[in-house]
Amino acid sequence: MNTGNSEPKIVAFCCHYCAYAAADLAGSGRLQYPPNIRIIRSPCTGRLEINFFMKAFEAGADGVLVAGCEEGSCHFKDGNYLAKGRVNTTRQLLQEAGLEPERLRMVNVSAAGSQTFVEYVRDMVETITKLGPARHQKTTAKEQQGAIR
């Protein structure tokens, strides 16, 4: 992921059963949202591990958005609760490493919530723009090999 310009790069891990569908619906409904988001579809937010978030930041993401089902309506019962705990733990780790914990956020969206999804994305882009780049300019060539492009 190239962090050379000032546009924030945000990775959004979206659950297949809700947020991904909501993003899809936003697209077919022609709802506009900033293009800073790179969506990665996940079978469930419960599949997401702390390493995934850390790797995204390591590879140069300025922010990471985790979008799962509304609490109580996970397709796999409690995947979004698992994700919540992992997101909170990762926020703690980011802070320890010297990055603002606000760079990682979890939101809950239903499959029909295209408008909600768009608002969450706008809000996230606004937060990350205010925070500025995640001070990753010094990325070495070796580290860039595994980076998100």
Binding site: I50, N51, E58, L93, E96, G98, R135, T139
Partner: protein
């Protein structure tokens, strides 16, 4: 199993600051099971150190490796090459593993990435509790299988202390009173009589006296 906890990233940064090439070395045994120092945690700690390195201009070069067991020479051998290439090793094994690595590589700085905390079990998902103090002279048979030394906050051999509330310990309200558990268990197995016997002060010789403990088994030596 041995239970351990990650040191904080600022603590690790302070420990590693003088070095450049760092090998984060995980252990595939106890610390993998207690989710503190296995392959996954090595990856997480390494990522955090790389991010900290960029944010704080530290120039760390972090490599990762996890071996089956750090307290065993056979497995340490597999890490020899990466260890030689590194300026320092951050081991995420228990204290025994860290020292085993340090002994094998006398020229290499080897640091502990974890705080080794206790011998315990997984009580429920994400919760580990202490069960054994490795005192060297087990008395579990007298207490229905519940260790008063480890699980009673005052380590009372002739309890309870009288401070418990309902079934909770007065020192930590989030933990059960070990003596309540002992009473219940002895009752369930028809051994309440045991409580009539006074237990004399414990002989700590097998634990704390005489320096580091050793076990020598003639039947396994040549």
């Amino acid at each position: 199993m041995i239970v351990a906890e990650r040191k904080t990233i600022p603590e690790l940064v302070e420990i590693l600051r003088p070095h450049k090439k760092i090998l984060v070395l995980g252990c595939g045994t106890c610390v993998t099971v207690c989710l503190s120092g296995g392959e996954r945690e090595v990856s997480i700690i390494s990522s955090a150190l790389r991010i900290a390195s960029r944010v704080q201009d530290l120039n760390f070069e972090i490599d990762e490796l996890t071996i089956e067991r750090q307290c065993d020479n056979i497995f340490i051998e597999q890490a020899a090459e990466p260890i030689r290439k590194a300026d320092a090793v951050l081991s995420t094994a228990c204290g025994a593993g860290v020292q085993a690595i340090a002994e094998r590589f006398p020229e290499k700085p080897v640091y502990a990435g974890l705080n080794t905390t206790f011998l315990g079990i997984l009580e429920e998902r994400g919760v580990w509790t202490e069960k054994c103090a490795a005192c060297g002279a087990c008395i579990l048979h007298k207490y229905g299988g519940i260790c008063p030394i480890t699980r009673c906050a005052k380590r009372m051999l002739n309890g309870p202390c009288g401070g418990s509330r309902e079934d909770r310990c007065e020192v930590r309200a989030d933990r059960p009173c070990a003596w309540q558990l002992i009473y219940k268990r002895l009752k369930d197995i028809n051994q309440l009589e045991r409580l009539k016997e006074m237990e004399p002060a414990k002989n700590w010789n097998p634990s704390l006296s005489g320096g580091p403990r050793m076990l020598i088994r003639e039947d396994h030596r040549v």
